[in-house]
Symmetry: C2
Subunit: 200 residues, 2 copies
């Protein structure tokens, strides 16, 4: 998605080889019009997936996921992150490790909002090692629902989450795939294999 | 806002005299089309306020605030909640007490995203005692910026946050004002004083 590539090139701040800060438009300050275009792009790419519900993880996933759900005309469900839980009776709970924060947290979804047979589109802002995405996948499966696909705003392709998710058979659509990061240059993987409708 | 009143009456779950659960459309599962209407309603009500930026607090404020910012064509900034911080050099930090969770947390905004003179519209999902709203007000003032107004999706008018904010001189627009909660009935304050354009 060219507009997203430009935004990352112009406003992204590289902090070491693995960390890209995009808090001017995605993670802290948010560009609503860009989020709407991102939502339209995900909706286009998953138009044939008969999505019943969009699932994301608080907080930075909410904006792109909300716009996707608006265009697809489905509800949005956001999983909550909590340190540790005592009452888990009515919740799906999965433990997710954050490499950034170097700690585990519990990711939870109320049981009443996921039903067997539903097709769930998972959206997240970043994909690195795939911990958060696999956590959401486990929640969808625990509900007896089906993963319709995984939509990622920024995939750090030099980390292994994307490969692992694709090898596990999931359809992953990333709007920007970063091949490498350095203070001088952010390299993207050109998505030549994408259908023409997904190119812009 | 009648559609919001209906949604609260039909789907809200009253847990005691003070707690209203609206996790089917606002707090956990989100209704994107309702959020869009809420955003349009806030944008209408604050159309004359020359808003430069919308500010909210993660996570439940993000959806209504994003739609408001989309319609107003401004950036959205979401404050982060954190347990305790060690590095606060580049942050505005305010301590906010949560009556629900009975604990304090630090609410933070990066200094680079608020500038002196900017007109900031504060949006939040709930208003009860006003702790979160006053925390955001203090951040806006610490930046030398100006509070253009405060937009609340659901105000629990039987608690004192709304009164305190209005007495402090802030323009507070709440789309639903709850007079009282009981298992049998949710009573709303009818907003007769609103301009006709804000009635639907």
């Amino acid at each position: 998605m060219r507009e997203l590539h430009d935004k990352i090139r112009n406003e992204g701040i590289v902090l070491g080889e693995h960390v890209l800060k995009v808090d001017t438009f995605l993670n802290h300050q948010i560009d609503p019009e860009l989020m709407m275009k991102i939502g339209q792009q995900f909706a286009d790419r998953f138009a044939d997936a008969a999505v019943d519900k969009v699932l994301t993880l608080e907080s930075s996933g909410i904006a792109p996921a909300l716009m996707t759900a608006l265009v697809l005309r489905t509800p949005l469900l956001f999983a909550r992150k909590q340190k540790s839980l005592t009452l888990t009776d009515n919740l799906f709970v999965e433990s997710v490790y954050s490499f950034t924060k170097q700690q585990k947290s519990d990711v939870t979804v109320s049981r009443k909002f996921l039903s067997p047979g539903e097709k769930v589109l998972i959206i997240d802002d970043f994909l690195a090692h795939g911990e958060a995405a696999f956590g959401m996948v486990r929640i969808v499966k625990a509900a007896g629902a089906e993963v319709a696909g995984i939509g990622i705003v920024i995939e750090k392709s030099f980390q292994d989450g994307g490969r692992k998710l694709r090898e596990a058979g999931f359809r992953v659509e990333s709007l920007a795939r970063i091949a490498s990061l350095s203070a001088e240059r952010i390299e993207f993987i050109q998505q030549a294999g994408m259908p023409a409708s997904s190119q812009p």
